[in-house]
Amino acid sequence: MEQAIFEERRDQIHRKGEGPFELACNRDSLAGAVSQRACVFCGSRVVLYPIADALHLVHGPIGCAVYTWDIRGALSSGPELHRLSFSTDLQERDVIFGGEKKLKAALLELIERHKPNAAFVYATCIVGIIGDDVNAVCRDVAAKTGIPVIPVQSEGFKGNKREGYAAACKALFTLAGTGDTSDISPMSVNILGDFNLAGEIWIIREYFEKMGVQVVANITGDGRVADIRRCHGAGLNIVQCSGSTMELAKMMEEKFGTPFMRVSYLGIEDMADSLYAVADRFKHLDPGIVERTQKLVREELSLLLPKLKEYRKDLEGKRAAVYVGGAFKAFSLIKAFRHLGMKVVLVGSQTGTKEDYEELASICDPGTVIVDDSNPLELSKFVRELDVDLFVGGVKERPIAHKLGVGFCDHNHERKEALEGFVGMLNFAKEVHASATSPIWRFVPRREAMAKALKEQETAKRAAGGEGI
């Protein structure tokens, strides 16, 4: 069993309670280890993708664009340009002679056809190698078309997803501060790091509406270029997926003095705490906001809690594994599972930082395994050893769980279920319950073998007990 772990990766795995907590992270993936991680391009694409009235042109060979074509669950209330896959589809000839001409022609063609409010140009691995001057082409096309044309330095090999988040924030930052802010109330926020999967940002916006808080820009779920241009007028930045958009919040604080706070919309306490924190921030402007927020939370909980209780009856004592992209999401998931009576026994992420993992370790139960940048061999080993009943991850983790006879819940960018907010907690409970308690698991060979072994043990015990009498 132990041989599932690479020697070089031993310090990226920790079992809480066994020695002082130290976890190596933010390190290049090990060659040959089948990491679950993607690349810089992926990081940028994930963050910017949901801006629905912008053109997203991938400058490179076809793969990077097709593998990201409409795979996200990011919904738009209006334009849907983000759901199309645009590429310069570089060919051998372009690689030899350079792709700048093609890039320019493609941009002009697509801007003419779709009339976007801005264009993002993603530089992929090969563009970094052949040295196309993407910045110059973007400047040139911006001057010709009159819309912002923004280069995204997302060459895949330049690090992992985190670098991609940073490149996306840099790109977003070029838009901020360029729009009119005259009609923005001081009691206003930008929503950062929510990608409107399955319409989640609409749930959150409704909460703020009820609290009397104006939402200036969604960054980036259901995002619009014009909103992002004037986002510096908001009174507060609230950052949900901090791994991806914290950097933008920091840059905005420095340049525009916009304060920020980290929030989470997943689970009950985190959702409620986040709303209270925002209310607290604005109560000097409008003391009534606290009461409105309390009322909102109370109403939501009175609907949610009785239903959760029903699910909890069946889920009590079950064991969960969490392996997600960013570590921050894992904190909320651990708490959410506690509400369902479940225990998280394995938790990890692709791109957590030292601080993330320290915080994670502090809220985990003893014995919980914590992993950074894991792979199928390790994950399957721990799922078996820790006798997990349910796995939370993305599409790549699904077959690992299913092959081992373990329920699964997709908590990645591709999911089509809203899991944020109070109603999201209910959806989450529903999905966890549906999968973890399905009768199908009894037919899966590993579970069948486990059930058989247990039965034999009991028979033996009874036999031994019988002799005793």
């Binding site: 290049d28 993936s29 090990l30 060659a31 040959g32 280890a33 089948v34 990491s35 679950q36 991680r37 993607a38 690349c39 391009f41 992926c42 042109l57 490179g60 060979p61 076809i62 793969g63 990077c64 097709v66 593998y67 990201t68 074509w69 409409d70 795979i71 896959s85 645009f86 310069t88 589809d89 570089l90 060919q91 051998e92 372009d94 690689v95 093609k102 493609a106 063609e109 697509l110 691995c125 090969i126 190698i129 895949g156 090999f157 330049k158 690090g159 399957s380 799922v383 993305g394 599409v395 790549k396 699904r398 077959p399 092959k403 081992l404 006879g405 899966v444 060979p445 590993r446 073998a449």
Partner: protein
């Protein structure tokens, strides 16, 4: 090259070369696909493939970073292979390059030569390499190039002659390959199917997570290809100087018979005729009966589909084969489109419709879905035939989509779709007729329950 009037690509009707290579390598027993490039390529392709097959798809990567992009990826390639040897126990490593490593100029054959020398004291796996820059060709070229590399690098000498058939099936579903094997069994010959993804990409539930899924063509079976009666290579599209079949023919005088993907009666007849020719065994009664039932179904269903206008898109071999099938049942294929470029696409479409259609459908290659949709606006199709990626276009056009090939992301059971042979054609025909009946029923104000 492309006959699209545009420079930009919108919603490509193709995937990139390393994806095809990785899938083909997965069809070899004990093999792990290994992409020499940055980490993202392997992960993205895994994700894409998993969502169709719903099976684990472990693809290793040399995970190159900025430093390696400047100084060369050799050390990571070697370290990566050692790692998959030790942890996966892979007996075959299929190394495919990416746009990054092709462009920085990594000489993979030389690096592998060094690797073998450096670690000659270890029990080394077979290492097969293929050049798959993603800026050249599509996933199908990657698939065929990897298949050809397996034949040219693993078959090193003439094997003893035996009553064996090599089947090089092309990129078909696991269900198709299982059916191919059933047919070969019925002919009573030994056979090599290269590659064989039928087990690895559609596994039963088992006791454990398999590091390397069982199934796939054994290396010994690949080696035996040079002693076979002949090879049957499926697919009419021609874009490579040398395929697995022609390689074996050139080096070991193993006769290579090229047929289309056997979809439809005429193309299936050609496939069975090739089998008869190589083995001397006539069509087994079981298959003659299936052929008879298929023709009976054609007769019973012909009026439902007669004169319907279809747009077919996807990878070139499948498009050609679907056109052959549609034409012979009286559906009018009005546009045959592929994102690939291939030398004989037009000619192949003319060949498979000869004697049935007054003129072959319009052939468009190197196109994306934007091009297809633009042209479709004037064509008034009744149905689209292709993979899931055409769904939104079918929706916009208000016509149903008959799902075939890869990827099937919006329906369940893609790997179990049957396309080939009399039996595969039968399921396609049934699905097509029912798709049209369903639409007719849904569109009817009366709501007939008896059609």
């Amino acid at each position: 090259m492309s006959d699209s009037p545009y420079v930009s690509t919108t919603n490509a009707c193709k995937l990139c070369t390393p994806l095809g290579a990785a899938l083909a390598f997965r069809g070899v027993e004990g093999a792990i696909p290994f992409l020499h490039g940055s980490q993202g390529c392997a992960t993205y392709m895994r994700r894409y493939i998993i969502s169709h097959f719903r099976e684990p798809m472990d693809i290793a990567s040399s995970a190159l970073g900025e430093k390696q992009a400047v100084f060369g990826g050799g050390p990571n390639l070697k370290k990566g292979i050692l790692n998959v040897m030790s942890k996966y126990g892979a007996t075959v490593v299929g190394v495919a390059t990416t746009c990054l490593t092709e462009t920085i100029g990594d000489d993979v054959p030389r690096l592998l030569y060094e690797f073998r020398k450096e670690f000659s004291d270890l029990p080394l796996p077979e290492i097969v390499n293929v050049s798959t820059p993603s800026y050249s060709g599509t996933h199908m070229e990657g698939w065929h190039a990897a298949t050809a590399a397996l034949a040219s690098q693993l078959v090193r000498e003439k094997a003893p002659a035996e009553r064996r058939v090599n089947l090089i099936p092309g990129f078909v579903s696991p269900a198709d390959i299982r059916y191919f094997k059933e047919i070969l069994d019925d002919y009573g010959v030994a056979y090599t199917v290269l590659p064989d993804i039928s087990e690895a990409m559609d596994r039963p539930a088992l006791l454990d997570y398999e590091k390397l899924p069982a199934g796939g063509t054994p290396v010994a079976s690949i080696r035996a290809m040079s002693g076979a009666l002949g090879s049957i290579e499926c697919g009419r599209a021609d874009h490579m100087a040398e395929s697995a079949g022609t390689n074996l023919e050139r080096r070991f005088e193993v006769r290579n018979i090229r047929v289309g993907l056997p979809i439809g009666v005429r193309e299936s007849d050609a496939f069975f005729a090739a089998l008869e020719e190589l083995t001397g065994t006539p069509l087994p009664e079981k298959h003659a009966a299936e052929r008879g039932r298929l023709i009976d179904a054609y007769v019973d269903g012909h009026k439902y589909v007669a004169g319907k206008r279809a747009i077919v898109y996807g990878e070139e071999d499948l498009v050609i084969a679907m056109v052959a099938f549609l034409a012979e049942i009286g559906v009018k294929p009005i546009l045959a489109a592929t994102g690939a470029t291939c030398r004989n696409f037009k000619q192949a479409l003319a060949d498979v419709t000869e004697g049935i259609l007054p003129e072959p459908p319009e052939a468009r290659e190197g196109v994306d879905f934007h091009d297809i949709a633009e042209q479709a606006a004037d064509l008034a199709p009744d149905i689209l035939v292709g993979h899931s990626k055409g769904y939104r276009y079918a929706k916009d056009m208000g016509v149903p989509l008959l799902r075939v090939g890869f990827p099937i992301h919006d329906r369940f059971g893609g790997p179990r779709l049957l396309h080939v042979g009399y039996r595969g054609t039968q399921t396609l025909f049934d699905r097509l007729v029912n798709t049209i009946l369903e639409r007719k029923q849904a569109d009817s104000g009366v709501g007939y329950g008896y059609l």
